[in-house]
């Protein structure tokens, strides 16, 4: 079936990320209320895990926060050990947010951006 639209997550969401040890958290927030159902529908744990393949080595957890039109993702084993142990430039996962927003989504809906 042909999808209706291809969009970048960046077009419909903003995000912030940070660290707790070796776990990165990525909060994804819909830019408009009407975009929130797209986030809950398309940002499945599997989709996010696939997106962060080679980055998040552990499990991915998802927590919905409809009050803020947001979803919080936890990416386990994503920070090279975390803290002072990590050899990563981004040891605190500050840029995982923008890495998330690179995601491209093929959606069934037609939306105006």
């Amino acid at each position: 079936m042909k999808r209706a639209m291809r969009i970048k997550l960046l077009d419909i969401a903003h995000a912030r990320s940070g660290d707790k040890g070796d776990t990165g958290n990525v909060g994804v927030i819909a830019r408009k209320r009407e975009y929130y159902p797209l986030l809950t529908k398309y940002l499945t744990v599997d989709r996010v895990k696939k997106h962060f393949e080679g980055i998040a080595l552990g499990k991915v957890e998802r927590f919905d926060m409809p009050n803020l039109w947001a979803i919080n993702f936890l990416l386990h084993e994503a920070l090279g050990g975390g803290g002072t142990k990590s050899l990563k430039n981004d040891a605190q996962g500050k840029t995982l947010s923008s890495a998330m927003l690179r995601m491209e989504l093929d959606i069934d809906e037609r939306i105006t951006l």
């Binding site: 903003h14 940070g18 927030i29 080679g54 919905d64 947001a70 919080n72 050899l87 500050k94």
Partner: protein, 437 residues
């Protein structure tokens, strides 16, 4: 000198200023400083900062609440008193919160059956106990409330949650009770919003960073609290930055786990109940926050030495910048192997190409320059140090058009590993002392 605290006390009305100084690794650094000099072990920046803002704070009756006391809040207090006496300042009351530092009680606690196992891995403390460099209990708001009730102008704590620093004055002013869980949760959420500098007022704002006005003069966030636990997040007028639904939401999502169970010593806040409403320019009202009963444990944060890292960089210029950096990476790995050096991890990243987004990075058409960032980690200090000597030779004995080695040899840094644990609240008591000069 940080200008933000002075701006907060001078550019508009506030009643309390909170300053969070403690990252996870900070305590171990402070324990080392205290070992060298028993008068130290607190945030050194704090004393000149207090000297700078205190005259204004005393004039306007603004209370200062900070966890910058590190592993020596009393030493920090004494340093401020010493300065105050010299300046002829009178009637200055300082409260300190003690008792969070349990470094010398680990054996005794274990003997009492308090295991302090790693709460993430389940491992027993035995494996690291003799290596622990710092061990601190996270206290919450209540000891600070006690000090405020005793009339302290400045409250200096050791390890206290950043949320507790903000919640405490609300409890003190409004007489909230220990089991007013919804109100305690609302004050806790306000603390989470304020805890990271300008991150709620336009800093690190991903939705539309260009739209943040005059970010050079960013106003730090302020919580305007009401007895019914409605809280307006705002900033001083005539400061830069932006407080909007989007900036506040981004900060609410910052470094949280399960949003339904945001656990502090004071309560368990439910972030999925937070309601936000724009009630004016740079004014976001927060209401409806639900809280649950606090757990009967304190979180304990311990640190121990767990090896060394060293990281160095070299910059490769066009043409073939990335290919050359990748070749250099391979040469370096070969030479380290030839030397027989063993590491727990070797990692190379190519800044300008993939150091942030890793495998998600898109190859640009042509790259002007790229920085090879090469790091090693291991428990053998000599090996990590030896690596540092292998980087510079690459300039003369590797691919061409390379520079950027002005910083010198990468030196070993300590890996301060972090050991989180829980202990029953009944096993430790915060001690509050208030003294006057």
């Amino acid at each position: 000198m940080q200008t933000a605290p002075y701006d907060q006390v001078s550019k508009g009305p506030i009643d309390y200023i909170m300053m969070d100084f403690l990252a996870e690794v900070t305590m171990s650094i402070m324990q080392k400083q205290k070992k060298r000099n028993p008068e130290l072990g607190y945030a050194k920046d704090l004393v000149p900062l207090v000297e700078h803002i205190l005259p204004t704070c005393m004039e306007k009756d603004i209370k200062i609440i900070t966890n910058g006391g590190g592993v020596n809040p009393a030493g920090c207090r004494d340093a401020i008193f010493k300065w105050a006496r010299k300046k002829g300042i009178k009637n200055l009351r300082i409260g300190v919160v003690l008792g969070d530092d349990i470094l010398d009680q680990l054996h005794a606690l274990n003997a009492k059956g308090i295991a302090l196992n790693n709460m993430e891995t389940g491992e027993g403390l035995d494996s690291v106990r003799e290596k622990v460099m710092s061990a601190n209990v996270y206290f919450g708001a209540w000891p600070i409330v006690d000090a405020l009730n005793k009339g302290a102008q400045i409250i200096i704590t050791g390890r206290t949650t950043d949320t507790g620093l903000t919640l405490a004055p609300m409890i003190h002013e409004f007489g909230w009770k220990q089991d007013d869980w919804d109100k305690i949760a609302a004050g806790t959420v306000a603390g989470h919003i304020l805890e990271c500098g300008g991150q709620a007022s336009g800093g690190n704002f991903s939705a539309d960073w260009r739209a943040v006005p005059d970010i050079a003069h960013i106003g730090f966030p302020i919580a305007e609290a009401y007895p019914n636990a409605e809280i307006v997040i705002t900033k001083h007028e005539n400061t830069g930055g932006l407080v909007s639904l989007q900036t506040v939401k981004e900060q609410l999502l910052y470094e949280i786990g399960n949003p339904s169970n945001y656990i502090t010593p004071d309560c368990v806040a439910d972030f999925t109940t937070i309601q936000l409403e724009e009630v004016g320019k740079n004014r976001i009202k927060m209401f409806g926050v639900k809280g649950k009963v606090a757990t009967d444990s304190y979180k304990v944060s311990m640190s121990y030495l767990d090896g060394y890292t060293a990281i160095g960089t070299l910059t490769y210029a066009w043409p073939d910048a990335l290919d050359k950096a990748k070749a250099a990476d391979q040469i370096l790995r070969t030479r380290l192997a030839d030397l027989g050096l063993k590491f727990d991890e070797i990692r190379s990243e190519f800044m300008g190409y993939d150091s942030c987004h890793g495998p998600l990075s898109v190859m640009p058409g042509e790259i002007n320059e790229v920085v090879l960032r090469f790091g090693v980690r291991g428990h053998d200090h000599a090996a990590v140090e030896r690596f540092g000597k292998e980087l510079a030779p690459l300039i003369l004995t590797g691919p061409p058009a390379v520079t950027g080695f002005a910083g010198g040899r990468p030196k070993p840094s300590e890996v301060i590993a972090y050991w989180p644990a829980l202990m029953p609240k009944s096993a430790v008591k915060p001690v509050v002392e208030v003294a006057e000069v």
